[in-house]
Amino acid sequence: MDRRWNRSLIVVLLLTAGLPATGMAHQPVMDMAPRWQGGIGFQVRNEYRFSDDLLSGDSDVSNPLGRDRRVNTTWLEGVYTFKRELRVTAKIPWVEQSRVVIQNGVPRKQTGSGIGDSILGLQIKHYYNRAASTGNFGLTPSIRFPTGSTGDAYPVGDGSWDVGVSASFSAEMAHLYQFYDLFYWHNSKGDRGIDAGDEFGLDVNIGIHPYHDNLHNIGIFVMGDLSVRYQGPGTDTAGRTGGKLISLGPVLVGYWNNIMLRTEVKFPAYENVFGVQVSRGIDFNVGLGVTF
């Protein structure tokens, strides 16, 4: 690689950044439960992702200066069911993150930590019950509040008020579960030049329920997850954002009475970024939920 190409690459690298963490902040809070009036649910979910793969469009490019990104987000999520058809959900993230960016041709580590941007949603649900199945249709308008600071070198918030909406459907039989969620986020312009593009997404979970003990109400689900994301071109404090991502992975859910443990891994199957960005990387999720 000649020097001119090297310089160009460095200039491009200066302007790049990854897909924002908010993209994966959509996972619904306890879809089927609590469906009873006055029901409360809490979930603590940790999401960790790391990558040092550099992409130009959908191609891998060399990463001689060691750009990378590491994001660890712990979500405290809550749901309250006013009545079967109406519930409110809240998600508050605690973010610990770091990245290596190139400034003046030199790799520099940037970090950020603290409460990120919180999400409040109002879910309108229509449940149905049949002899051998149950399910629901949901419509969820949401607001993302700028509760995260934009002061860190790698800011945990973007300083903007964003609005979103999702439409979902899920159905469950004794041995089968399926969930589909289509969503849209309109990202407004934030602080420090952060201006993330709007985002569209589709989440699909399909799986089986191979074990259930009626007497102790213990069981497991094994599912596959498909996540599709498109985020319009935008910028953050380190450069360009946005792109397309399709990820796939397994999901394992175990439950015991009112306690649920969910683990999942998302592997990027297809990724195409605007400009040059660090890949989103593999996404690990572990969540522990309880309903009352």
Binding site: M32, N129, A132, T134, H209, L215, N217, M260
Partner: protein, 184 residues
């Protein structure tokens, strides 16, 4: 005595078809509810929690007196002997938990009483009175002592008057004695 036994055997045999049609055998001191949608194991906890607070339950059975079977979509309640069945409360709790109770199955043992057009069954232990749909049990005298399995539709429960006996349809005559009609 032999004639009575023959009648009972005949009636049980006649109800084998019912069993093949999905009417299961309810054990003593149990109430069962066929519930639409109760296949969601994690969220069924809401129904279990709500039902387990019923005072009439025998908490030593099934851990908390409630067994939810997501395969058969049936909730079984273990009753304390001699407790009245709070039919209305059971239905309301299941509905509030987000499910639709379709059929309630009860078991009762007691003496039949004729009250005008109605044939009533007074449970010997709880004193709860059931009204037999149709006003008679085929081949059984109006003052007989019987043990029956019966059902009522979940949809009829909200309309039940508190003072009226609960109207049930007999699924199975488990035992009948005393004053049984002669069969031909």
């Amino acid at each position: 005595m032999m004639r009575t036994s023959l009648i009972v055997v005949t009636l049980i045999a006649a109800n084998v078809a019912f069993a093949d049609d999905g009417v299961f055998v309810l054990e003593e001191n149990q109430v069962a509810v066929q519930v639409n949608g109760v296949v969601c194991s994690f969220c069924a906890y809401g129904a279990e929690k709500a039902l387990s607070k019923l005072d009439c339950l025998d908490q030593t059975e099934f851990g908390d007196g409630v067994l939810i079977d997501i395969e058969t979509h049936r909730i079984t309640l273990a009753m304390r002997p001699g407790e009245k069945i709070p039919v209305r409360d059971i239905v309301q709790r299941i509905k509030k938990a987000g499910y639709d109770p379709i059929t309630l199955y009860v078991r009762s043992e007691g003496t039949l009483e004729r009250s005008g057009e109605k044939l009533l069954l007074r449970d010997a232990r709880s004193g709860q009175v059931f009204s037999i749909r149709g006003g008679h049990i085929e081949g059984v005298a109006d003052n007989a002592t019987v043990s029956v399995q019966a059902h009522l539709a979940g949809s009829q429960v909200p309309a039940l008057s508190k003072s009226e006996p609960i109207e049930v349809t007999i699924d199975r005559l488990i035992l009948g004695s005393g004053g049984a009609r002669e069969d031909g």
